[in-house]
């Protein structure tokens, strides 16, 4: 028997879902669709899951093969509360993609707190993120740009800037 999913108001995904009256626990958020749209383009690829351990992981298993031991692609995103410098972000991404040809990376831009690598950033934050991802690997392509959210419903949300890698 399936364990009943318990909504936890202190968790980011649950907070978002609870903002939509009609949403069920199986609902897929818009930014999650961005990820699914990308990874499902490669039906023969097995993916390592480096994302948050939420109900979304269970949903994804219906669409893609997730195998943390035998994989050709990685899915990387998180919403931890700690700050992240650009050097740590780059290191984390480069380590994650060094042995794979496919990757989805979702960045919570509000986790970035400091720029500490020796590359000049453009004035716009969107373009700066592009530069940083290009520094990680020039093959990264932007899939989605964070612009704005409905603060009334998604006050706790941190939509991501999403990138796909297909070497």
């Amino acid at each position: 028997m399936l364990k009943k999913y318990k909504v936890d108001s202190n968790r980011w995904r649950d907070q978002q879902l609870s903002g939509f009256k009609s949403a069920s626990k199986d609902a897929i958020l818009e930014q999650e669709k961005v990820m699914l749209n990308f990874v499902t383009q490669f039906p023969n690829i097995k993916w390592q899951w480096l994302g948050n351990q939420t109900n979304f992981l269970k949903i994804c298993k219906q669409y893609i093969t997730i195998d943390n031991n035998d994989y050709q692609g990685i899915i990387l995103f998180n919403n931890s509360t700690g700050g992240l410098s650009t050097s740590r972000l780059v290191k984390r991404i480069q380590e994650a993609i060094c042995n794979v040809d496919f990757a989805y990376v979702g960045i919570n831009r509000y986790l970035l707190t400091e720029h500490d690598i020796d590359i000049e950033l453009p004035d716009a934050l969107d373009e700066s993120l592009d530069v940083i991802m290009n520094y990680c690997d020039p093959a990264f392509k932007r899939l989605h740009t964070f612009k704005e959210v409905d603060a009334n419903h998604m006050v706790a949300a941190h939509p991501r800037d999403c990138y796909g890698l297909c070497r």
Partner: protein, 169 residues
């Protein structure tokens, strides 16, 4: 839900206040009590009536009518970001704490908000990084200062003290 989400991130804390306990002061509250000499303050959209427990006389504005359930004297103003009600004193201090409308606001919107609201000492506690600008490259205050005729003092990363400019020719 803004009342719960924004100013009281944990509903449990909020419920404690409803049951009559004093709300635990955070560093912003403490700064307000230590640095604002005027007893009468306007609190905007953070269920600020709890400050009455600490000796202040509050005029409370809220964006959601649910607040009336908890503090019937509060004023409901749904367009707080762009509208400064005329009944709000132009001399008493105004306090904004975690204003939801500054989350994901653009710099232009922030400037318009400041120009609309600052008529007296205005204290704004907000996550500056949540305003949309390139915080990897700039400081928000450096982008705002040249564009407004206001005296902005950065108390810390997330707390601004703003005054109308007294040096206008």
């Amino acid at each position: 839900m803004r009342l719960f989400h924004v100013s009281r991130p944990r509903v449990r804390d909020w419920r404690q206040t409803r049951h009559g306990h004093k709300y635990q002061l955070d560093s912003v509250d403490q700064w307000i009590l230590d640095n604002i000499n005027c007893v009468n303050v306007t609190t905007v959209d953070f269920a600020g009536w709890y400050l009455e427990q600490f000796g202040l006389k509050t005029t409370c504005l809220e964006s959601n009518s649910i607040a009336k359930i908890y503090w019937p004297e509060c004023h409901i103003e749904p367009d707080i970001m762009i509208w400064r009600p005329t009944y709000i004193s132009k001399s008493n201090p105004v306090v904004f704490k975690n204003p939801w409308f500054l989350r994901y606001a653009t710099v232009d919107q922030l400037i318009l908000f400041l120009e609309t609201w600052v008529r007296s000492l205005t204290v704004i506690s907000f996550e500056t990084q949540m305003v949309q600008y390139n915080y990897l490259k700039f400081k928000l205050i450096d982008l705002v200062r040249p564009r407004v005729k206001l005296e902005i003092e950065e108390i810390n990363n997330n707390l601004w003290k703003v005054l109308p400019c007294t040096n206008i020719k």
